[in-house]
């Protein structure tokens, strides 16, 4: 995978509805602005859901292509962000059902680190592994709710649009996820 493309100032300033309008008008390349704008968050979200960068890349790429093909069905382009998260969330759920061997860590062998890894990077990786292990102890719904709220920074309204769930349901999941995460983190030294 390559590094994320850098958007120009003009590309950063144009609103989602304006970009959507250009894409629907036939400007395929304009879709690249939306990709550049949202892929980092979508990749982060999908990686937490699928616990695999490769599977997350597949889910996000599939989701974005699907979003392009069905862009006309996005009723309110001012809420494009939550619409994209909904699509990618669905791809993640599909991936959880049909995952492949290459996406998953090999249980019989220790994880291998690259030559460039330093002790600090390993420490960060261990901290991330600790939190990810705790995150995996949550139910998939709790995990998604926690990630959308506290990692992707969505409001409950946005989360409702992204997941199709009611706000009281989402609040309950987030509250339970917080308690369960604290429980799980306590168990690890």
């Amino acid at each position: 995978m390559n590094s994320p493309p850098v958007l120009s100032a003009a590309e950063r300033d144009i609103s989602d509805p304006d970009v959507v309008a250009r894409v629907l008008d036939g400007d395929v390349d304009a879709f690249g602005i939306l990709v550049g704008r949202y892929e980092a968050g979508l990749l982060r979200y999908a990686t937490r859901m699928l616990r695999s960068p490769d599977a997350a890349a597949d889910a996000v790429a599939e989701g974005l292509v699907r979003a392009y093909r069905h862009l006309r069905s996005c009723r309110d382009p001012s809420r494009l962000k939550t619409w994209l998260y909904r699509i990618v969330g669905n791809r993640c759920r599909s991936h959880l059902v049909r995952r492949s061997a290459s996406d998953v860590p090999l249980e019989d062998a220790p994880p291998l680190l690259d030559r460039a890894d330093t002790e600090a990077e390993v420490e960060r990786a261990e901290q991330l592994a600790l939190v990810e292990r705790a995150l995996q102890r949550l139910t998939p719904e709790q995990r998604e709710a926690f990630v959308l709220k506290h990692v992707e920074g969505m409001s409950y309204d946005e989360m409702a649009e992204a997941t199709g769930e009611r706000i009281p349901t989402l609040k309950m999941r987030v509250h339970r996820a917080r308690a369960a995460l604290l429980d799980a983190l306590k168990e690890y030294p």
Binding site: L50, R51, L96, V97, R99, S100, A101, S102, V104, P105, L106, E107, D108, A109, L112, Q136, R137, L138, T139, P140, R143
Partner: protein
């Protein structure tokens, strides 16, 4: 790979080291490595196992391990004795189940290893009966892997046997267990993980092999450094 070579390969999965009772005398292997005061007791246990047709290598290994770990002599002797008892129990279990090869050293060691990993004799018997004439080591370890991750023992055996019925053998049983553990680690319940993997059978993922760079870096254990 021919069937004969495959069977030989699967048979070796229980213990790669020579385990035949006709191997080097235990005393020869242990002398100079174990505390002299323990040598008579240990040698006696090894000889008794050899006379009984039990594999002796696990006992020699356990003694060498205990010495390396600095274990007190009485604890060393007790641990080797416990290993011998486990081997005897394993063979008795194989005989009582009417196993085709109750005295096969690899089978005895595989069953002993499973018992030491907490698999009940009843479930060992189930697996042995379902895989007549075949090495049970990988299946037993697959069950032990699942139990080690909190899966119920009988459900674990059910899953492995379901794989066997669909033609899986040998190391593929370990892949079945690995698939269920991965599903669990993704946040599913134990029941959901088992159901998911059962639906995949027999096409559970095979783990990728080591990268060519890793293979080219591999060194052999120096034979001169081995006793």
């Amino acid at each position: 790979m021919t069937a004969a070579r495959l069977l030989a390969l699967l048979t070796s999965l229980a213990m790669p080291l020579a385990a035949q009772a006709g191997g080097a005398r235990g005393g020869d292997r242990l002398a100079g490595h174990v505390p002299p005061a323990t040598l008579p007791a240990l040698d006696s246990m090894v000889e008794e196992a050899a006379r009984a047709g039990l594999p002796t290598e696990p006992l020699i290994q356990k003694a060498l391990e205990g010495v390396a770990k600095g274990v007190a002599p009485d604890r060393l002797v007790a641990a080797v004795g416990a290993s011998a008892a486990r081997l005897r129990s394993a063979r008795a279990l194989l005989r009582s189940d009417g196993a085709a090869r109750p005295s096969d050293p690899a089978e005895v060691m595989a069953v002993a290893a499973a018992l030491s990993r907490g698999i009940s004799p009843q479930q060992v018997a189930r697996l042995s009966a379902a895989l007549p004439g075949e090495p049970t080591g990988p299946a037993l370890h697959a069950v032990a892997d699942l139990v080690g991750h909190g899966f119920a023992e009988d459900s674990s055996v059910d899953l492995v046997l379901a794989g066997a019925q669909l033609g899986l053998r040998g190391l593929r049983f370990l892949d079945v267990a690995a698939a269920a553990v991965r599903e669990l680690q993704r946040g599913g319940s134990h029941a959901a993980a088992l159901a998911h993997v059962r639906a995949l059978l027999p096409h559970v993922p095979v783990p990728p092999g080591p990268a060519p760079a890793a293979v080219s870096r591999a060194r052999r254990v120096q034979p001169s450094q081995r006793p």
